[in-house]
């Protein structure tokens, strides 16, 4: 045993074990999330949902997955063989990879060796997450093109345009957090959110705000308090990146059959499905990590290593639930609305917010200027973002529009 350890190196072995654990955990989590989504939506629609396999139908997803294994594996004659096979892999693998930089808990000591509960802590963590997101586009582009069929191609082109549009907003929304934290490592960013807010000196001397700020002394020092616009932009673009409702235009059933995966069946379809759900979990986990203190939470003496994990999972569950809730609640956006939101609202809002955060965080600038800029830009952004689309007014009579309806 020790011979093997010496030969390969303990660091490598620990890394390999972490990877295997994370991989299996993600698969199990996906099974549970798919089941939970079906149950929750069923409940919201006064149905029962899956209830045959296992307690509360918990094994339904597993049964479905097994079934897909034994389904006939075929591809349309018009498809491009290798690209068709590559697309589901390209959709799934980046989703798995993105999870690698998310810290799941505090350091634990196993057999006298301190192990951090993150697959790997690289010092470009946030950029790595974005890089994996940008590679995730390929699965959909390729699926759309390789199927050699109308609906997939339309769905693929549409969804690529959607994903790249929201990718910008996603990338920009994390810049202010990085600016405030001064680091790209997710472990560092979590560490910065460890304590309570403490005494806020920023609003000292301003009658009402000072007292209000004082009230928040004991709140955990999460980035959501100062960075909530960044979080709003991040989460909206995160939903669009995962192609989930209300941004599920790539697979808009009523127009595009199933969009980019119309021609996919059996295990290949299962892989698209798996990729999407892992992406949902990853976006939720990153939201928790960057804005909601990561694994930080009240600890107890009993099993001290367990609590961070529990807090992390609980917080992540809240966001996964939010994904499901949105799917059950929101109607799908129209495509031009989608582009309008991404290009004309989220991107400028993100840019302005970056500058606001920069001004507020500048060391050598007078506090009054910072306050004034903060107040003015804050109000500006809020009114501008929420002033709404002037075209909303005629939303009830879309027939009156005289365009040919050409994109």
């Amino acid at each position: 045993m020790s011979g093997i350890v010496d030969a390969i190196g303990i660091v490598v072995i620990i890394g390999a074990i972490k990877v295997i654990v994370a991989f299996v955990a993600l698969l199990v989590v996906t099974l549970v999330v798919v089941w939970a989504e079906r149950k929750i939506i069923a409940d919201m629609q006064s149905r029962v949902g899956p209830n045959r396999w296992g307690p509360f139908g918990l094994l339904q997803t597993l049964a479905d997955g097994m079934k897909l294994f034994f389904k006939e594996d075929f591809r349309p004659a018009s498809a491009d063989r290798w690209t068709y096979a590559l697309a589901p892999v390209a959709a799934m693998v980046p989703a798995f990879l993105a999870f690698a930089v998310v810290p799941l808990g505090d350091d634990v000591t196993i057999a006298g060796r301190e192990i951090d509960l993150v697959v790997t802590d690289i010092n470009i963590g946030v950029l790595y997450f974005l890089a994996m997101g940008s590679l995730g586009v390929y699965g959909i582009v390729l699926a759309g093109w390789a199927s050699g069929s109308k609906f997939p191609l339309l769905g693929g082109v549409r969804s690529t345009a959607q994903m790249i549009s929201y990718e910008i907003a996603l990338g920009l929304s994390l810049v202010p957090v990085v600016l405030a934290a001064g680091s790209l490592s997710m472990v560092d960013i979590v560490a910065q959110q460890a304590d309570t807010v403490g005494n806020v000196t920023f609003f000292d001397g301003i009658p009402v705000l000072e007292q209000v700020a004082d009230l928040f002394r004991y709140m955990p020092n999460w980035y959501i308090w100062s960075q909530w616009p960044a979080f709003a932009i991040f989460f909206i673009s995160g939903i669009a990146e995962t192609n989930r409702a209300p941004f599920d235009l790539p697979e808009a059933e009523t127009e595009l059959i199933a969009g980019f995966h119309t021609e996919y069946s059996g295990i290949r379809f299962a892989m698209f499905f798996l990729g999407e759900y892992i992406h949902v979990v990853v976006i939720s986990a990153v939201a928790v990590t960057l804005f909601f203190g990561g694994w930080h939470g009240p600890g107890f003496d009993f099993l001290p290593w367990l609590w961070p994990l529990v807090w992390f999972m609980l917080k992540t569950t809240v966001f996964v639930y939010l994904f499901v809730w949105l799917r059950a609640t929101m109607p799908r956006l129209r495509y031009d609305r989608l582009m309008w939101l991404g290009w004309k609202r989220l991107i400028p809002a993100a840019l302005v917010w970056i500058m606001v955060t920069a001004v507020v965080n500048t060391p050598g600038i007078s506090r009054n200027i910072r306050l004034a800029v903060f107040g003015a830009l804050f109000l500006g952004v809020v009114t501008w973002v929420f002033r709404g689309d002037p075209r909303m007014k005629d939303i009830v009579t879309p027939q009156r529009r005289t365009t040919r309806g050409v994109a």
Binding site: V89, D121, A270, A407
Partner: protein, 121 residues
């Protein structure tokens, strides 16, 4: 440099790719294969597929979106090192990035006014 830090990512890449390829191979062995020419037609709601879709050209807007995406992506690439080093750069960094973003916002306003961001005319 910390190459060992990136080793787990390599493992994860290998593991997930093996999983994907392995399950596709397993499924192709386990599943029945009764291909018929009708089954292999591309989907068109039960009709005989009309024509090959690949020849049709798409609106140039998609190209515009992709091009604008690259430009803003490059901007994001500049913003990250700036954000990390902001504590060191201070007021000077603010001015630098202020100019950079202002120039780009002018171009953005131009695109907006020219209707480059409109999807429905």
């Amino acid at each position: 440099m910390n190459t060992p830090d990136y080793l787990p990512i390599l493992f994860l890449l290998v593991l997930s790719t093996l999983f994907a390829v392995g399950s596709m191979l397993a499924a192709s062995k386990l599943s029945p294969r009764r291909w018929t020419s009708a089954k292999l037609q591309s989907y068109e709601s039960g009709m005989v597929p009309e024509k090959d879709v690949a020849g049709d050209r798409f609106p140039v807007k998609f190209y515009l979106v992709a091009m604008l995406f690259i430009i803003f992506d490059i901007e994001t690439a500049f913003l990250y090192p700036w954000a990390v080093a902001y504590d060191e750069l201070g007021l000077f960094g603010l001015a630098e990035m202020g100019v950079f973003i202002a120039i780009l916002l002018a171009a953005y306003a131009y695109v907006w006014k020219r209707g480059g961001l409109e999807w429905v005319e």
